[in-house]
Homo-oligomer: 585 residues x 2
Amino acid sequence: MYRTHTCGELNISKVGEIVTLSGWLQRSRDLGGMTFIDLRDRYGITQLVFNMDTNAELCRKARKLGREYVLQVIGTVAERSNKNQKIPTGEIEIIAEKLEILNSSEVPPFTIEDDTDGGDELRMKYRYLDLRRNAVRKNLELRHHMAQEIRNYLSAKKFLEIETPVLIKSTPEGARDFVVPSRMNPGQFYALPQSPQTFKQLLMVGGYDRYFQIVKCFRDEDLRADRQPEFTQIDCEMAFVEQDDILNVFEGLTKNLLLKVKNIEFDGPFPRMPYSEAMEKYGNDKPDIRFGMTLHELTPQVKGSGFVVFDSAEYVGAINAEGCAEYTRKQLDELTDFVKKPQIGAKGLVYVKYLADGTLKSSADKFFDQQALIGWAETLHAQPGDLLLVLAGDRATTLNALSELRLEMGRSLGLMNKEMFAPLWVVDFPLLEWNEDSQRFYAMHHPFTSPCKEDIALIDSDPGAIRANAYDLVINGVEIGGGSIRIHNATLQQKMFTALGFSDEQAREQFGFLMNAFKYGAPPHGGIAFGFDRLVALFSGLDSIRDVIAFPKNNSGRDVMIDSPSTIEEQLLKDLSLEINLKAE
Amino acid sequence: MYRTHTCGELNISKVGEIVTLSGWLQRSRDLGGMTFIDLRDRYGITQLVFNMDTNAELCRKARKLGREYVLQVIGTVAERSNKNQKIPTGEIEIIAEKLEILNSSEVPPFTIEDDTDGGDELRMKYRYLDLRRNAVRKNLELRHHMAQEIRNYLSAKKFLEIETPVLIKSTPEGARDFVVPSRMNPGQFYALPQSPQTFKQLLMVGGYDRYFQIVKCFRDEDLRADRQPEFTQIDCEMAFVEQDDILNVFEGLTKNLLLKVKNIEFDGPFPRMPYSEAMEKYGNDKPDIRFGMTLHELTPQVKGSGFVVFDSAEYVGAINAEGCAEYTRKQLDELTDFVKKPQIGAKGLVYVKYLADGTLKSSADKFFDQQALIGWAETLHAQPGDLLLVLAGDRATTLNALSELRLEMGRSLGLMNKEMFAPLWVVDFPLLEWNEDSQRFYAMHHPFTSPCKEDIALIDSDPGAIRANAYDLVINGVEIGGGSIRIHNATLQQKMFTALGFSDEQAREQFGFLMNAFKYGAPPHGGIAFGFDRLVALFSGLDSIRDVIAFPKNNSGRDVMIDSPSTIEEQLLKDLSLEINLKAE
């Protein structure tokens, strides 16, 4: 037995007991005739004391130990004279009587502290040491806790967790698949699932009316900051349900998580907002509603003043930055630079300062008189002291730029409180999205999403106007997940494939097994999937999902700790009937 | 809202209530002026009644419905005159008032009944229909229940479930890896994990002293009856523990499962048996101890009688089939044929009948007198009425053949009660196994397994005699899982790699990151992994794991439902810098 207690559990009630602890040497201090060692494990830190006067040999042994040595200590719990109220074990220390070195350690390449001196790359290479840090550990503990709460909640609601296969079939629709060559079927490949979508629909056909799974999914994308080639999804599907049934269950799940994990009681239902309203008011389908500063369109009231920027614009809109009328020239220039960044794409920024004396001062004074500017201020519900920020251009770009500007202002004004959770259902998404390049419609959600009943008639005349029974859960501007009511009727599904430009043969080849299944009594069904990594990151107050994953990959999809991917043996390639061809693509 | 109740919950207390049910048409019967429909969902079956006298139009509509149609019915709960006590809803029926056809169904290719007329292949192709059968559904429900119990038990014991990566690095040791070509790192591959072994050890180095994960693992093997290319493991690791600590925790887990899932209270500790004893008494390292009939060696007492089969044998051994002295010639011939099957490999079978009158009659009477045969009977604790079955040959083959013969006798004598659970820890496995072909030792468990302290000295002189700190949990002759205390000392690990014939470079290349990690304070640690599919199959009373997997693959690794693996698009291959070469290997 390596220990009687952990390093996090001893307190004043145990004074006098002889205990055995094991853990890592966090730090050590020699003070005159005494040596103090902080012994660390997953549960906390306990102070060990070695005394030169009473046990010189042991004390000398203790003085030779380095950081991150693994120790086993037997000693007596004693009350500390110099108490540390910051930690649960701070009132006691262990008078060491026996010390065993379980393992030595080289000097770690960075300090194992909350504020480490290790850079990102170094910490990833030595992730097993990074994992020892409190900051990382509490993320993984939270992740475990959340997964447990989710499973218990859904199980209590009669959901069954059913494992769907990882080795599945590649389909060209959607993102790029990772593929796995099959040795037993030469020239053929499995694919790793981007989601268990078709399998969960087949489970509905199979009568499992409440399915869930916390499951790894895979996407071979060029990685952006917050993407990983493998990620974890809370994947769910229900049969004999309408949209409201699904929203209610997963609103319940989210509220339960907020309560159990963050101790936040959320009163009343989550607000719901149609996609069209989200775009109009926030320029974005995942609005952060922790703060207002909504977008207001000015197009009709600014036209015809001779200001060519506005006169030629498809859309002119503004936000009201309350209390910012005193912004300096420099601050306004910075905002102008911000919106002109290529990824934001505005051509420039017009501001209107609503001064304390009730006058308005604008960078477009030449074209607009006080009366006109007062009109803008009214549209934006502005008061003296406020600052209007106006952008103009084509509709899509300008809405997006205003959305980015709004978030930037929210950040700089401290309106995005990490302790606040503002959930929102975005509903009534468009069913289809037109793609100019390929001159065809794509499914905005996926090809199995059902159209709103009242819009079905538009499928031939105006497919772009059809709304879908699709919904996203957004919290603090982060898209936590989304889903839809599916098509359960083979004829309608066929029609949908046609609208998406699939030939019958393509549809059959890619989704034939699903179409077939639908011939044998598919129930009405729908589902949702939450990004588990993002949900944990949000609950951790972190911006990146990488920090809530034990062994993440870097932006080139590499695991720098194990140095993967890597070359494989020639024989294995042969067994797979494959050759590598590194010629330019 | 598609339903107010499920098809499994209405009973006599609800008589008079108006309810809405949804489900599948299981069967329908027209009796005079009435039509009865059994409506089925995941929760049960409820009888619907349509009456030609009171609602002719509705009744006519009901008579047109086919099997597996999806229906929604509104009606009134009524007491049945003809009660069915076999099902919870058997005392009531629904007098239908409204009927909506939610979906039609073609005639399914096999009947959705406990005893279906569908063959294996057909059921796999239409797995979504097979999943509707009670027999399959209860397996998946049990699987969910067991996973929940396991997670709750381990979480309560402070284990953290931590997800390890699926895209990892290929290592030539062990079984064959599935590999995944990396598009972003041309010519390089990820591998899918055969187990999270190295990652869980790194988590121990990282200070997570109690880790578990219910996790998919992958092995590209030529499939045998009870293997799947992807399978699920309950994977665990603990730090600051000795073998006993691990056995205690997982014995507790197993007992808790037996109690919660099978309502079996298991008293006292699980028996433990050294590997050497298991081989000697059962000819097998996974003994089924639900019954005795242990092996007894006869080698010394049968030598020198002039019977060349025995005289030339390395090993002669027998089992005692109690009460089988009356076996007929035909039965004995069948047993002889059984042991002579190539996969069993015995040359023949010698029997001794211990007749009721106290005389013994053997197929080797020519060489052994009554006195000699009495001696055998004594060794095997046989009584009049018993039958001794004797095999001879080289030791390994004969032990295996006796083991198979014992199991065959156990089966035919009905000694293998599926309701009984007989767990056993097999301990003290050999550390190394000699391979004649490659003339080197292989790790019996894996290269990280620690040797028993008292045997370490043998590493240079007699490596084959070293016992390992390794253990298997066996239940009813099924290997549920196994594990070991790991080496946590870099020097000893290095020595082990040398004993296994790894060059320093090979060891560094394949396990360098683990060796490196061990330099920074690795704690003493060990772990275990249970095969979850096998555990569920055992608890379900099933012989094959295929029946406890929602979407299994067949023996060629194919999913015949989705027709996977399959060819992929040329462009995807190009993006992966790969070419297919189907030339002979």
